[in-house]
Amino acid sequence: MARVKFLCDADRCIECNACVTACKNEHEVPWGINRRRVVTINDGKPGERSVSMACMHCTDAPCAAVCPVSCFYSTADGVVLHSKDLCIGCGYCFYACPFGAPQYPKVGNFGSRGKMDKCTYCAGGPEADSTPAEYAKYGANRLAEGKLPICAEMCSTKALLAGDGAIIAEIYKERVMKRGYGSGMWGWKTAYSDSPTG
């Protein structure tokens, strides 16, 4: 099985937010929750770059390590998923996540944040694949249909890449070689302990 990852080529990202919108639409994500977001670094200054960021589906994921009820699990493809039936909404995953991926449906005073929601790599949850129960909790399961995450599929400049980590890293390296520069494989060092070459 391939080890799937996300890679955002910040030199291509034009901050159009299509990935954000596509994700919200595909999974009918409720108001206030953004599974994916675009952050612009050095906004308005020379050398500004935008990075589309969501759950990076880390190797040895910090969220899974700190969850008090152990509601996270990894698929054979390396996708980090969680069970909303087990989640108690404590917020620990949010404190541990380097990428701010976990989201909560309520502005949680008295700790009533509700069940955590995050990017599923379009791979649903523990329920049977592509069932209404799975859709209601986790959104579409595109992976089960043999499709890649909608955010990367929609990306107009092909800045956001999804798929086999080795292949997308190779594509990125080829781009860097050809154009002669690259601002890095954002988050890879943190998520996969990879050296962000190029």
Binding site: N42, G47, P62, V66, S70, C90, A96, P98
Partner: protein, 330 residues
């Protein structure tokens, strides 16, 4: 003509100069680089930018401090908690084996003296019962996954933890109320004084049988417990407040700090309360009466709080001497 041409070229050069300075920066190639940003981060720092969605917490792109927080919870906290709590259990067990139950040296007098009025006892048990639920539900969040989950399975443990979390969140409020009342009613008897130094020098009479350094209403040990509860409880309340209202700081670094504070103080607080529970129940004969019925045996009071008994007797609250109280005629 040639002169005009030269002037024209010169003018062009002058005009072109600022433009040339701008072109020397290549906006495509010279950009922020993740590696540089990560290396430039200070301890606990994060890479942040601008975001176009309302959630400003989402403006943080990468916060490597999350890994330190994870390391704290997975590696450091079990050590801190284990040493504090198991260490206290071991310490108390050794103390119990060596010293045994601390008896009333002169035996029961049979006469009782009122030590805690009903409102004081109510405050104590309000705070104490909340504390026990808070401590157990808190320990469940920290260690339940290792200790309890394997026993019950994921579903049952998750349900238990969800209820425990609700109990933790809501019982925090009566606990805080208890702290405030406790402070108000007992602070005047808990101001440290010279007598406490003497009490501490004699080890509180805990180690040698029959030795009881003089003490007023509260001895130095009890004053210590009082201040541990007040200061520890206040820190727990403050740090817990930010966890109850995580959108007040709206800053993941601050929240990480508050959760670490909450967890470390909790472990020390629980350990201290174990000692308090021990000495107030099985550890010392006659001590539990103070918080149960409110009245303690006069001999117990004389041994542990000699000066307080004298004060009470001076006020006429207790019959002097150890004769049993007269039984009213039927």
């Amino acid at each position: 003509m040639a002169l005009a041409l030269c002037a024209g070229v010169a003018l062009l050069l002058v005009l072109a100069h600022p433009a040339a300075a701008q072109v020397s920066f290549k906006p495509t190639a010279e950009s922020v680089h993740e590696d540089q940003l990560l290396n430039a981060l200070k301890e606990g720092g994060k890479i942040t930018g601008r975001i176009s969605i309302p959630d400003q917490m989402a403006a943080s792109l990468i916060q490597p401090a999350g890994r330190d927080w994870r390391d704290f919870h997975r590696s450091k906290l079990p050590v801190i908690g284990g040493i504090a709590i198991i260490g206290m259990f071991v310490g108390l067990a050794i103390f119990m084996m060596v010293r045994g139950r601390i008896r009333i040296h002169d035996g029961f007098a049979g006469t009782k003296i009122l030590r805690f009025a009903s409102f004081e006892r109510f405050t104590h048990w309000l705070t104490a019962s909340c504390f026990i639920v808070l401590a157990l539900s808190g320990l469940n969040i920290s260690f339940g996954r290792i200790l309890i989950l394997p026993l019950f399975g994921a579903e049952a443990f998750s349900t238990l933890s969800a209820y425990a979390k609700f109990a933790h969140n809501y019982l925090a409020f009566p606990f805080m109320l208890g702290l405030v009342i406790m402070f108000a009613i007992w602070v005047r008897d808990n101001i440290p004084g010279k007598l406490d130094l003497e009490w501490l020098k004699q080890g509180g009479g805990l180690l040698a049988k029959g030795r009881h350094p003089p003490a007023k209403r509260f001895n130095a040990g009890q004053k210590g417990i009082f201040w541990i509860v007040i200061i520890g409880g206040s820190l727990m309340s403050l740090s817990g407040w930010f966890m109850l209202f995580p959108y007040l700081p709206a800053n993941v670094t601050a929240l990480q700090l508050w959760t670490v504070t909450h967890a470390v103080i909790a472990m020390l607080f629980i350990a201290a309360m174990l000692a308090h529970i021990y000495i107030g129940s099985i550890g010392m004969e006659g001590a539990f009466d103070a918080m149960a019925a409110g009245e303690v045996d006069l001999n117990w009071a004389k041994e542990h709080h000699s000066l307080w008994v004298e004060e009470e007797q001076a006020k006429g609250h207790v019959p002097s001497g150890s004769a049993p109280r007269a039984v009213p005629a039927e």
